[in-house]
């Protein structure tokens, strides 16, 4: 034990750079995982708490059908149900209001029993009259403080909503009403429209047992209305959130794996570097167990220090991310309220255990070193046998066989059952392929450097011979650095391709023909009038009137199918054309892939929806994301606009925006100007601007992946630096010889950097060869898990960038060892054998 401690501490002193770089590798990997876990933990807490706050606190929301909504019997009936403590009606109706300066405000008129508003925590009063105060003005209304500030309104001012006159009784500082941003809270009794016509009518229920909602949901279904818990987030992560969170965790775990790989690689190289020392210790009487113990201690110290440092750094990173607004589900500022200690501890313990298990290979290698041969003057010269030269054929053959088996799965097993087996085979095949690349790397390095050396020597002169010859003849030694680069950059390539596919999927939804579109937000009162005016314009080819209907968790989009068929710049497939014609002819819906996945429906299945006339079953005619330009969400149901009205009642808010296409010969910019002149003060946005804004938002959402990639690049640099430092140590004598034979420092450093460049090129090439199938496999897995309609598009630009980055990392990492070697004492290095 004493010897183990002594050797371990001595190595820390004498080989500080290498020990530090490998410890830093673990720390960085651990930091990535800790940061992502903590970020995700706090994001989920924050989002859940925010969403819970966002909506009032009924235990159940009941949406009645139109015939029952008109009746006073429903609330009575609801109150009579056992387990129901309290029932109150609430209606949320989109309205618009224009101030004296011509600004239009879109807001939601909330009609509620004022004495129940506070009980359900729907909103919080800032100033003015209490909701239940005596002496309230006639027709009181409460508006948000923000709107009052913007519109320069105050308590006591009057407010005209549609054709009704109100007096502002107070200002609200907080809203807990879901996605409604601006509201006008009025008393239930102030409604002059029959209740049955209010589309946003629902009843809030408080139950004796808040957990017991399932029975009421079933009962509601049987009675023909929709009963569901209020929207909260913890239970309703969208597929894209799930995909992003899973993707982040995978990326972070890859980061940790890279860190651990650096430690293992360092330990393995250490054996190679120190074989003379190990043999000497053994020759002097140290047992194999003592030598193994020393190596174990070294690994333990590295992984422990790395893990502790990594956890600390990760927590700090998570804190900074929260402050600057990077979360695991996109751009959001979250407060640091907790650390998932169990998960972090499991990851840290796993890292340490893997490191210790990983030392087995170096330990076995150290135990097998032939002491007598190593201590001979010539040392241990490894000559590769022919069998060893071709051993890469075994894993490659295995990869091919597994690959073939994977394709045969389609015929051998039923599709769904084959999915998991196929994935396992793909993974095994990929691992076998990676192994074969590791084996073949020295050969590739040898061939590449010999060929490139000859070429460059002929082209640029003899100074290019030596570095290439060195790499060529020391291919086996350099292969470890190349493999390190290959694995790291294959992971980076894989991660980036994956995030690009995700980004691309999001962008594609908004890309279609958006550059030609103009989005018009109308004032509710003037929507029809303005649409008629726009349709008359000769510069307008088509106008799509889009209707919104939110039935949580459903987003229903109503549009005239004939208009969609007429959109000039979108080429529809025959399936899409048929589906739209079907929608126009009869009942039917089109689902986005995300929505189909969420509802677990396929083409031909029936979609069940609660309408004012009871439960309806509508066939799914198509699953497509091609109409994503209608809005940025990926989860929605598309149906004929006429049916939205008949099923869900007249929706005044739904008519507030349109998509306008210019006629041939008219530019969208000209159309924007024309519309602004005719429709002022309507809000008009051209499609290009809107698309750019969406893309920007997406890029901000994915910033966290870019940060992880940066971490991985630093890890790659550390791994390369570590490898090259070890090589430098091994080559001290050789380099000293070059110096003694007349090579200047100024010639030596470029030579070693050229060697590093060559390793970078080989590593980059192999990284792409491995990265392509890895990214496809990861992509396929993500597609299956998330249900997103991803398209695999490896980018040439990113491939070239990855190659360039790998070469730059290799060049930068080779500078320090090159300078160290150039500064070594030649006389000392050459003195002893």
């Amino acid at each position: 034990m004493k010897l183990a401690f002594f050797l371990c501490s001595r190595n820390w002193r004498s080989r500080r750079t290498r020990q530090l770089t490998s410890t830093l590798g673990v720390a960085l990997g651990g930091a990535l995982v800790t940061a992502v876990l903590t970020m995700d933990h706090n994001t989920v807490i924050f989002k859940a708490s925010k969403e819970r706050k966002k909506y009032a606190e009924p235990d159940l929301e009941v949406f009645p059908t139109a015939d029952r909504a008109a009746s006073d019997e429903l609330p009575k009936w609801l109150r009579s149900l056992p387990g129901v403590e309290e029932v109150t009606p609430v209606a949320m109706v989109p309205v618009s209001w224009g101030d004296r300066r011509g600004n239009t405000y879109q807001l939601t008129q909330v009609l509620a029993e004022l004495d129940r508003v506070e009980a359900f925590q729907a909103c919080v009063l800032d100033s003015g009259w209490e909701f239940t105060a005596t002496g309230l003005p006639e027709s009181p209304v409460w508006i948000t403080k923000r709107m009052a500030k913007q519109a320069k309104l105050d308590v006591g001012d009057s407010l005209q909503l549609e054709d009704q006159h109100f007096v502002i009784a107070g200002l609200l500082k907080k809203l807990h009403l879901g996605f409604h941003q601006e509201i006008a809270l009025t008393d239930w009794s102030s409604s002059r429209t029959p209740v049955s016509q209010w589309k946003g009518l629902r009843y809030w229920l408080r139950l004796d047992d808040p957990q017991n909602t399932d029975g009421f949901v079933r009962l509601g279904k049987a009675e023909g209305f929709l009963a569901q818990p209020p929207p909260t987030v913890g239970t309703t992560d969208t597929p894209e959130d799930i995909a992003m969170r899973n993707g982040l965790t995978i990326c972070a775990l890859l980061g940790l794996a890279l860190g651990l790989f650096i430690v293992l690689h360092t330990l393995l190289m250490t054996v190679s570097e120190r074989r003379r020392e190990i043999a000497l210790l053994h020759g002097l009487g140290a047992t194999r167990r003592q030598i193994s113990g020393a190596m174990l201690w070294e690994a333990l110290v590295q992984s422990l220090l790395g893990t502790i440092g990594g956890v600390g750094l990760g927590l700090a990173l998570a804190f900074v991310c929260g402050k600057v607004g990077i979360s695991s589900i996109g751009a959001a500022r979250y407060p640091m309220v907790g650390v998932p200690w169990t998960a972090v501890a499991v990851v840290a313990a796993t890292g340490i255990v893997i490191t210790l298990l990983g030392t087995l290979a170096p330990i076995v290698a150290a135990r097998r070193l032939p002491t007598a041969r190593i201590l001979s003057p010539m040392g241990l010269e490894t000559r590769r046998s022919k069998a060893a030269t071709f051993r890469w054929l075994v894993p490659l053959g295995l990869a091919v066989v597994l690959g073939i088996l994977h394709f045969l799965m389609n015929w051998l097993i039923e599709e769904r059952a084959a999915h998991l087996a196929r994935f396992a085979l793909q993974l095994a095949s990929l691992l076998a392929f990676a192994t074969s690349l590791v084996f073949v790397a020295p050969g590739i390095l040898h061939g590449l450097s010999a060929w490139a050396g000859r070429l460059l020597q002929r082209w640029r002169g003899p100074q290019y011979h030596l570095p290439f010859r060195n790499v060529s003849t020391q291919g086996h030694r350099n292969a470890t650095a190349v493999c390190a680069l290959m694995l790291v950059f294959a992971s980076i390539y894989c991660m980036h391709t994956l995030t690009e596919c995700l980004k691309d999927e999001v962008r594609t939804l908004g890309r279609q023909a958006m550059s030609e579109m103009v989005f018009v937000h109308h004032g509710a009162a003037r929507a029809e009038e303005e649409r008629a005016l726009v349709r008359e314009m000769p510069e307008v080819a088509t106008l799509l009137a889009v209707q919104n209907e939110t039935r949580h968790p459903l987003v229903i989009r109503g549009v005239d199918p004939h208009s969609l068929l007429d959109v000039p710049s979108i080429e529809l497939s025959s399936d899409e054309r048929n589906a739209l014609q079907g929608l126009a002819a009869g009942e039917g819906v089109i689902l986005t892939h995300a929505m189909a996945d969420r509802l677990q429906l396929r083409v031909g299945d029936d979609w069940e929806v609660s309408t004012r006339h009871g439960i309806r079953r509508v066939p799914v005619r198509l699953v497509s994301d091609r109409f994503g330009y209608l809005r940025p969400d990926r989860s929605y149901v598309l149906l004929d606009g006429a049916r939205v009205e008949s099923w869900f009642g007249e929706n005044r808010g739904s008519k507030t925006w349109s998509i306008v296409y210019p006629s041939p010969g008219t530019s969208s910019a000209a159309l924007v100007e024309m519309l602004q002149a005719s429709l002022s003060p309507a809000r008009i946005v051209d499609g290009t601007t809107l698309f750019r804004k969406r893309v920007w938002n997406i890029d901000v959402d994915f910033l966290v992946f870019d940060l992880i990639l940066m971490g991985a690049v630093v890890l790659a640099g550390l791994g390369m630096l570590n490898s090259l430092m070890i090589h430098a140590h091994q080559r001290r004598r050789e380099i000293a010889l070059y110096r003694a034979l007349g090579m200047t420092r100024e010639e030596l450093v470029p030579m070693l950097v050229r060697e590093g460049t060559l390793l970078g090129i080989a590593g980059a090439g192999l990284a792409i060869v491995l990265g392509l199938p890895s990214s496809w496999l990861a992509f396929d897995a993500l597609k299956k898990v998330s249900g997103l309609n991803l398209v695999y598009r490896p980018s040439l630009g990113w491939t070239l960038a990855c190659v360039g980055l790998c070469i730059v990392v290799a060049r930068v990492a080779s500078r320090h060892p090159a300078r160290t070697l150039a500064g070594s004492n030649v006389a000392e290095e050459l003195r002893y054998s």
Binding site: P377, M378, E381, R383, Q457, G461, P462, Q463, H465, L466, R469, N470, T473, Q474, R733, E734, L737, Y738, R739, A740, L741, G742, M743, T744, R745, E746, E747, V826, A827, L830, R831, Y832, S833
Partner: protein, 251 residues
């Protein structure tokens, strides 16, 4: 110690001091030495007497603490490291006790190594290199790797490598120290042949009085100094005289 030929190397009052904890350790204490062009000089002394340090100083690898070293008429340590290296490249060939061959290169490539380092393309000179290998008796081993050669063969490759650039000065640090007596004899004969046929200046560091006796001049180094009356020249150089000087100096 002066020479009657044009000096190729000239050391004047060369001192080398190492810092050893709180006190200084003087390894070379005022060495004056000249090596004439085409002269074969042996340097003898016990372990730790400063022989290797002196060799490194002459080679431009170790700056002396004080004193001047001239190589080919240039003050070696007035030059910067870059120029010094270029001067070494042009003037000095090295033969090391522990061979220092690059294990990954074959014999022919190891021989051509100084030319690659000098930025020359040795591919057109392969015949010359093979001739050199023939001279050292290794023509049949051109494409073998160092791990496949014996100690004596390795040392002969080292000699061929030292000669490939035809340097005016050959520094040999105990070239027979790691080979058998018979092989050592063969290597010494090669040195003599090189000196005779190529007229090279050779500085041979050795422990062996028989090896030293092949030189034209023998210089003894004792505790970092060259003692008075400890230089044998011309006809004085024979094994018996060398032994008597060694006894006198208690080496």
């Amino acid at each position: 110690m002066m020479t009657d030929r044009d000096p190729i190397v000239c050391l004047q009052d060369v001192r080398v001091t190492y810092s050893a904890g709180d006190k200084d350790l003087e390894v070379l204490e005022g060495i004056d030495l000249e090596l004439g062009a085409g002269e074969f000089v042996s340097l003898m002394g016990q372990s730790g007497s400063g022989k290797s340090t002196l060799l490194n100083v002459i080679a431009g690898l170790l700056p002396p603490t004080t004193g001047t070293v001239t190589l080919g008429g240039e003050a070696l340590y007035a030059l910067d490291d870059h120029q010094r290296t270029l001067l070494r490249r042009a003037h000095i060939g090295f033969v090391f006790q522990f061979f220092n061959l690059v294990p990954s290169l074959d014999v022919l490539e190891n021989v051509a190594l100084p030319l690659w380092i000098a930025g020359e393309d040795p591919q057109g000179k392969e015949a010359e290199h093979r001739e050199l290998l023939e001279m050292v008796g290794l023509g049949h081993r051109a494409h073998h790797h160092p791990s496949e050669l014996s100690g004596g063969e390795l040392q002969r490759v080292t000699l061929a490598r030292a000669l490939v650039t035809k340097p005016p000065l050959l520094l040999a640090d105990e070239p027979t120290g790691n080979v058998s007596a018979k092989m050592g004899l063969e290597i010494l004969e090669l040195f003599e042949r090189v000196h005779r046929e190529w007229n090279q200046t050779i500085l041979l560091v050795t422990h062996n009085h028989r090896d030293a006796a092949r030189a034209q001049r023998v210089v003894f180094l004792n505790d970092g100094r060259i003692p008075r009356d400890s230089v044998l020249t011309g006809t004085e150089v024979d094994e018996a005289r060398i032994l008597s000087v060694l006894q006198k100096l208690e080496i």
